[in-house]
Each structure stands twice: as C-alpha cells, then as structure tokens.
Symmetry: C2
Subunit: 305 residues, 2 copies
C-alpha cells in the first residue's frame, strides 16, 4: 500500500494504491499556498493521516509541479513560490517511511508506463500540453532524469530564432508556440487584427483552447490555422526527440490531449514529415490514457519499478 | 587483445588494442568500394589477418560510416552504396570470434568515454562536426542507441521552418546550417553576392573551413559572421540535447573541432544563452581528445564496457 499524491497549485489529491494498481481510498485537500508554507504542510499532513488511518504506512510518493532534484528536494516551484524546500526530509521525520518526490510529469510517465498508454514500451517520451509544455523520458525501462533530474524540458527547446519571449527568459521556446495559451494568444491577436472566425471577436478574454479545437473541427479557417500551427510546432519538438533519442513511443497528455483524434492526426501528419524515416517507422504516437490519474499511479510505480 | 577497425570510405584502418588501451600493432588498407563488395571484403580480411597473425584472435570491433542495426547489420552506408549487409555474419563465419559493428560516432563516443575527453562522465553526448553533423549518447554509463540504434541524429533536427533542403529529403535540418560544408557554402554565396573578405573571391571552389576559421581569427568580417552562424546553429542543437537530456558533458569532435578554443568559446557563448540555466550550470562542453583514434579505442571499449 502506497500513499500517492498529486500536488497541485489549488488542490492536493491523494490515493491509497496497492502494487496491483488498485485504488483503495481517495482524499483531497486544498493547497492554500497563499496562507504560507506551514499551512500547506498542515493540509498535506491531514491528507496523509486520513489516507493512512487504517493501514500500515509503507511509502509516500508525491508528484510535484516544479523542479525536483535527484534526492527529492524541491528546487523551485513557481506556482507555490517555493525554492529549495526539503519536503522529503520533513515527511521522513514525521512519518519515518520511504519518501519519493519527483516532478509531476516524471510521475505521470511512470503511471502511463505501468498501466496506461505506455505499457510494454522500453523507451518512451511523454509530452504534456496545457498552459505550458512539459516532458519526461523512460529509457531502458527506467525513469531518466539526466544529471540534475531536469531532463525532458521540451517546452524550452528553441524553435524560432529571436522568437517570442518566454517566462524562462529565453526567446523562441517551443512553449511560446505550442501550448494551449500560445494557441489562444495566436487567435486573439488574429481577431484583433480583424480576421474573421466563428469565434466571437468581442469575447477575447474568454477564448479557450477547447473552443478553438471545436471550431476547427467545424471548418473555421482561423481555428484550423491555429490548431495546425500548434501541431506543427509540437511536431518540431517531437521530431527533435525522435531524431535524438529514437524512442518506441511518444505519449501526449495534458489538457490539450482531450482534443482527441483530430489533434493526434495533425501531430502525426507533421511528425512523419519532420522525423527521420528510419526512426519514425517503428514509432507509436498515442494519446495518454490515465488523464489526471497518471501521476498518482506513477507515485506507486516509482516504488515498484 | 581486440582487433579494432575504423571503416572509412577511402581507407580501412585497424589496430590491435589490449584492455589497458595500449596499441600493439597498426595497419591500414584501401577500401576500394568502387571495385565492388567482394574486393572490399578481401581488403578487410587482409587487414584482420595482418593484425591477428601473432595473437589469439578474441573479438573484432568495427566503427562504420552508416546506420547499423542493434544486431550489427549494416542497414545503409551511403558512401559505400551498401544496404542491409550482414557483414557481422560474414566475419563470424570466417573468424568465429565475437563481432561488434556499430556506427562510427557510437564507437567514437565510447573511445572518448574510455580514455578521452568524456572520461568519468556518466551521461554524455558527442557531437561530430565535419562534412555532416552527427552525434551519439552514452547514458547511465552505457551506449544509448534507442529503439533502432539510430539515436543521436542531431544533424537532422529541424532548425529552420521551410529551410534549406537536406540530403535526407527534409527541409531545415541542422546539418544544412552547422556543418563545415554549410559554412563554406554560406561564404561562397556571400562572395558571389559581392561581399568583401580576405578570402579571394575568385577562388570559390577551393575555400575550406580551416581558411574561414583562420581568417575569422584575423578579424575578417565575413568569416566571423560565417563562424558565428555555424556556432549559433550548433548551439541550437546542443541546447535541444541539454534541455531534453540534461547530460553532464558535451564533447565536440570531427574535423571542425581542430579549430580549437576560438570555436569552443563561440559555442559556449551561444549555448549558455540557449540552454536552461539549471541544466547548463553543471554542464561541461569540451573538445574531443582522441581525434581519428576515438573510433578504434571505442571498438575495444565496446567489448569491455
């Protein structure tokens, strides 16, 4: 029995999962980062206590939205305003069980590899597309984090010389062209410049990625252009992964993956053009299967793999 | 004692190397691919016989200029006109010893990892810059070839949308911007368009990369621009590797690496701008140490690693 936690900016969700991937109990608490570090810890303790009250606690795994070092120290978590927090040590002192904290995408790929879209693959890359663009590798059946556990940062590979300024301080990062926010910004700008679309042009602030996908499926020219642009840039990133790492499988997760087959087919179209034939011929590109649950299953698998 | 062979388009060079990286004997033969497959094999047999005449033959390793499958079959070698050649089987039948054939850059990174610039690194990438641009990974202390042993193809990551047409059939591959040939072509075109340079503009056909580097060091504006352009694009490739894989070390080999520190400093300048800070801070970028010998040492190491 493992306590598996998905640590988000708004909620902390947890589950009690056994080694057969069966969920025995679920619970969630508010994160409340605005009340300070101690309050967040109290909320987390409450969640853990609730989940563990009827079982012998064995291990706690946490998927965290930020950079986590190889030894489970939270280096930086912009959403929470945390830097260099040794949450692992705090939990170890309090519960005295095995603790594993890792980046949320690293946990998600473990989950997909265990019981999801990435099952039975030895070398795979998971791409998450939402507000930002993230990624993670499993290579030779093991999580691969590189030297500082910072591998997989596909959102920051350079795709345009002197391109759009990114939050990371660099220009032309993939994330500025291929995230949901980037697609929305692209449409807003076009509407502001007078382009026609089914999307109401006086409703700029409320445009969402889902609406753009829905209207692209209906044949709206601007929305098709926006989806195509996103898929093209995602495929530039995917082809860099494929040409460099030659994986067996690319899994696409994150909010945008709910756009489904229409989205997947455009990705495949551009990826086939951009990837080396010899590396593409045995490649599977798939949508993630576990949705929001990938991370908590990954936490359990991190103790099993 | 291992027979270690660097299989080139013009020459096949071999050496007898022991497990302490000592070279006991060297020999070379002409490749003579234009005389057909059987002649090339005869030349190779002659080389092996010569090297093995006074020792008990244990294993033969070959670095090959082409795509080699995980089970040592030569999938394609454009310079030789070979496709799907099971040279490994031919040698196994004739000599009945362990045979390992791998891509030449894969063998070179093994050599550098064993006794060269990549010594003591666990995660490294080797970039070779010459007529083309190639690459190879060692991850977790082991050669990493991916699913089809085709990982490391940095020369074909996309760096310009609808860019220059590449021999691989795609447009905008790194190799078309960052190889020695690409740099020479860039200078030729500028001279044809009337740009001034120390390089004689009526001597187009004989411009070599070395001349461009030499004149850049002397302050020639066009040559500085050409070197900078090459280093920028190489750094785009390096930053993709660093942001995706987070290695400890990037080794730069191939003919262009002889341009030395001037070249290395420009690469570091652009790489620092393009790589994520957290992945760059512990990264070493170095020139290769073993030159033409990296491959033969790598052949020996492929049996030891």
């Amino acid at each position: 029995m493992y306590i598996c936690i998905d640590f988000g900016g708004t909620n902390i969700r947890g589950a009690l999962i056994d080694k057969n991937a069966k969920i025995h109990l679920r619970h969630r608490v508010k994160t409340e980062a605005f009340h300070g570090f101690d309050k967040v810890c109290d909320n987390l303790f409450e969640l853990i206590d609730k989940l563990s009250q009827n079982v012998k606690l064995k291990a706690i795994g946490i998927g965290f939205p930020g950079t986590v070092s190889t030894d489970s120290v939270i280096v930086t978590a912009p959403n929470l305003g945390w830097n260099n927090v040794n949450l692992s040590k705090i939990l170890k002192n309090k519960y005295n069980v095995e603790i594993k904290i890792d980046n949320d995408v690293n946990m998600a790929i473990r989950g997909e590899n265990w019981i999801g879209a990435g099952k039975n693959y030895k070398n795979l890359f998971m791409l998450t597309v939402g507000t930002g663009v993230g990624g993670a590798f499993i290579l030779n059946n093991t999580m691969f984090g590189g030297t500082d556990n910072n591998a997989g940062e596909i959102g920051h590979i350079n795709v345009e010389k002197d391109g759009i300024l990114c939050a990371c301080g660099r220009k032309g990062c993939l994330e500025q062209y291929a995230s949901a926010s980037a697609m929305v910004n692209f449409v807003k700008e076009k509407l502001l410049n007078g382009e026609k679309s089914i999307i109401e042009s006086n409703n700029y602030q409320h445009i969402e990625a889902k609406e753009i996908f829905d209207n692209a499926r209906k044949g709206d020219k601007l929305c098709i252009q926006a989806v195509d642009r996103m898929c093209y840039y995602l495929s530039v990133g995917i082809s860099s992964v494929v040409n460099l790492i030659n994986p067996q499988c690319i899994i696409i997760g994150g909010g945008v993956s709910h756009a489904g087959l229409y989205f997947l087919e455009r990705i495949k179209y551009y990826s086939e053009i951009l990837c080396l034939d010899y590396s593409y011929k045995n490649l599977d590109i798939k949508l993630a299967k576990l949705g929001d649950e990938a991370g908590i299953f990954g936490c359990a698998y991190s103790f099993i793999e």
